[in-house]
Symmetry: C2
Subunit: 451 residues, 2 copies
């Protein structure tokens, strides 16, 4: 089956809609995977989309709905009848429902909560009460729990009866009469065991878990590190209240990566989706670093002012300022990206800092020599002045070598201070190197060009 | 259980080693999860590490070994006896083994392959023959396959017998007598079914799969999109040959992200780990863009030369060149990061290009007005010249607005041309904006400052 088949089928679907062949459309949608139906619906007009929704099988509606992004879910809810919205909300997985409510304005959430039956409403309210980005906020209370004194045969019967609507039946958690988490076992172990054995004899007591208030990243780390399908979440009294599954972990990983990208470009973290972020927030998230860097540019301005004597005597020196500062910044942002990413994935550790600095010094000097030579040739050809060419070439060589080391050192320093190295943004490095580069350039110029 | 407990236990372990309490160490390691053992071993000296390895239980050794990074595995193999290395290699999961062989020099792989029994050697050779980064290269041949005419009871018996060493028993693939993939079912469905039913009556025939030669990214996309635990891999004749599991997908996602980070910093993709990349390769991966940008700086140099008249009459204009070009570059790299990431996660689609441009024009102009005003004030205070301050302020406002739009437009244009937007590196945007910014600045200066 092809991933891109939506495009092939779209004309067919459009035709079914235009000819009002609702039976044909219903049959077509019945055969499709929910993820593919979402792809198709996204290509339709809002009216066509709502109409197609009505044709979906009952049990598929909430699954398809859950796969839309929250902002699109909100749009859809507006177009549904109250009864229709209620049916979908009740059928949704609790963790998907929390994610939707998270994004909606408070008064809409309140209205929707009223549509839910008492039990689901209580559950939804509890989930919404956990802190933002906590494990409690992304967990689902739909797991399989077994009593510690059950036999294997009894456990299997319990799974058969309750497993159908659980997010995973493959990992079973064992609790005692106070709901305290006591152990874990897999469906695989249960199947391989003797039916008369007790669950407590086949369970693993050293069960990994996180707390409801732990950061969602911690839940993600546990799932990734120990290669498990889900991690149980317990409350303050060690009672099992939910699980975080591996598919939620994939989402968390993507979110963290987006955060790192934004930090590195000097943007404060934006959690909402692109089209969801309001005008004021879009400005405020970006303005901080931009203004800091404009103000920081007072430094390079002051440096240039100090050297105005040299500058006005040889105006040609000005021509190469953008190249010098630019190359320093480019080299620095390359080396900082390499090190920030290597620290994030755990490929390098802080304790190897001297090895890293040694390696990068060699790389920096080599890059500097190559680039300096090229710059020398360019200046000789375009300007024809050997002394200026030498000044530019030597300066570039030094600026690139320094830029490379600065790009490595600052993230390492952040790591040493227990700060997130990803906060070292490319703009920050570039601004620092602007000032450094100018001083190097004019000090060399003064020595080379003074009579 | 805490993620960071290694630090707490390390002194204890060091003491066990120093007092040569091998029984104590063995007992301690027996209780630990393989992922935690790896964390501990990484903190030990090479000799201590090899010694601890010898104390591990037989069935745990290969699991622990597989969790090390390939470069560390190579180091370890050198210190093991041939017999020890052989035992570990035989016990390893086939996909972990391929990953190790992938990273080793050809002559080492050849030597290690000879240690394997004929069957495992054949399997390893086959896996190594698939192209780099293909689904075949990361798949494992350890899956559960059921015959299409089996009963549910027979299938369960088959799973009980063969399941123990499979990567996952939770998804079962159904093949016919020619090994052609015919359907899929889950352990959950098998357990819920009547023992006398035929597998072919409970299986899902519309099974998702990828081909051995498909890119590993495609396998990752299928697993993520359809939220499945594994995707089957078939050969050219649609015969089932392996599966790619969700834990491998997490690795692929991390790899892709690293690639995107590197591209955006103007680095050609480096697949090896940080300490693994040789000196020459580290230079060659970075030099291309750096040199292109030095050469491209001829443009800004030419522009400055053209305006040397204005420059030499008011030397103070020079002072603000780094701030102007820097701010343009910073704004552009922010907006390009936002759009590249939103395109990568699918939050925005190319068809919304006009909506994005409209949104970002407003943001850009607002950022420009704020930053231009601040710059105006700074110049008035530091230099005391209103005309120069006005020139700088107005220029900065325009440069930032233009920078914001350029940062958005180029990734969108790449997307339109069906190229990867992540190739739009921050250095590329910065260099383009250097030239644009300078022209804007001096054109305004000429008009404002001419008598």
């Amino acid at each position: 089956m092809e991933l891109q088949w939506t495009k092939i089928f779209l004309p067919e679907i459009k035709e079914l809609i235009e000819t009002k062949d609702f039976k044909g459309l219903r049959d077509f949608l019945r055969e499709r995977h929910p993820a593919d139906i979402v792809d198709i619906l996204k290509e339709l007009t809002p009216t066509e989309r709502v109409m197609s929704f009505r044709l979906l099988d009952k049990n598929k509606i909430s699954e398809v709905f859950a796969l839309f992004e929250p902002v699109e879910q909100e749009e859809l809810l507006k177009q549904f009848t109250e009864q229709h919205a209620k049916e979908i909300l009740i059928e949704m997985q609790p963790d998907d429902r929390t994610q939707l409510f998270d994004e909606l304005p408070a008064h809409v959430v309140e209205k929707l909560l009223k549509l839910l039956p008492p039990l689901e409403r209580k559950e939804a309210n509890e989930l919404l009460n956990y802190p933002d980005n906590s494990a409690g906020r992304i967990m689902t209370p739909e797991y399989v729990d077994l009593q510690i004194d059950m036999t294997v045969a009894k456990a299997l019967e319990h799974i058969r009866k309750t497993g159908l609507n659980r997010e995973t039946v493959y990992i079973c958690y064992i609790v005692d009469e106070t709901k305290k988490l006591r152990g874990v076992t897999s469906l695989k172990n249960i199947i391989l065991a003797n039916p008369d054995q007790l669950i407590k004899d086949i369970m693993n007591e050293s069960v990994l878990y996180v707390h409801t208030t732990d950061d969602q990243e911690k839940a993600a780390q546990v799932v990734q590190k120990y290669d498990i399908l889900a991690v149980p979440v317990v409350d303050n009294e060690d009672r099992l209240v939910g699980i975080v599954t591996v598919d939620d972990v994939l989402d968390v990983v993507q979110e963290e990566v987006t955060e790192d990208f934004q930090k590195m470009a000097g943007i404060q973290t934006i959690e909402e989706e692109y089209f969801r972020v309001g005008f004021f927030k879009r400005i405020s998230n970006r303005i901080l670093w931009l203004v800091i860097l404009v103000v920081a540019a007072i430094i390079s301005q002051t440096i240039l002012k100090n050297y105005s004597g040299v500058l006005s005597s040889i105006i040609a020196l000005t021509y190469f300022i953008p190249m010098l500062t630019g190359s320093g910044g480019n080299t620095g942002s390359q080396s900082s990206t390499l090190i920030i990413r290597a620290l994030a994935t755990g490929e390098v550790k802080f304790k190897d800092w001297w090895k890293i600095l040694l390696r990068e010094s060699k790389v920096g000097v080599t890059l500097g020599l190559v680039m300096g030579s090229i710059a020398f040739i360019i200046v000789v050809i375009t300007l024809g002045e050997i002394t200026v060419a030498l000044t530019v070439g030597i300066s570039l060589c030094i600026v690139v070598s320094v830029g490379n080391i600065v790009g490595i050192s600052i993230p390492l320093f952040f790591k040493f201070m227990k700060l997130d190295p990803a906060f070292v943004s490319a703009p920050l490095i570039a601004t620092l190197l602007d000032a450094t580069g100018l001083i190097i350039y004019f000090e060399i110029a003064r020595r080379m060009l003074s009579p």
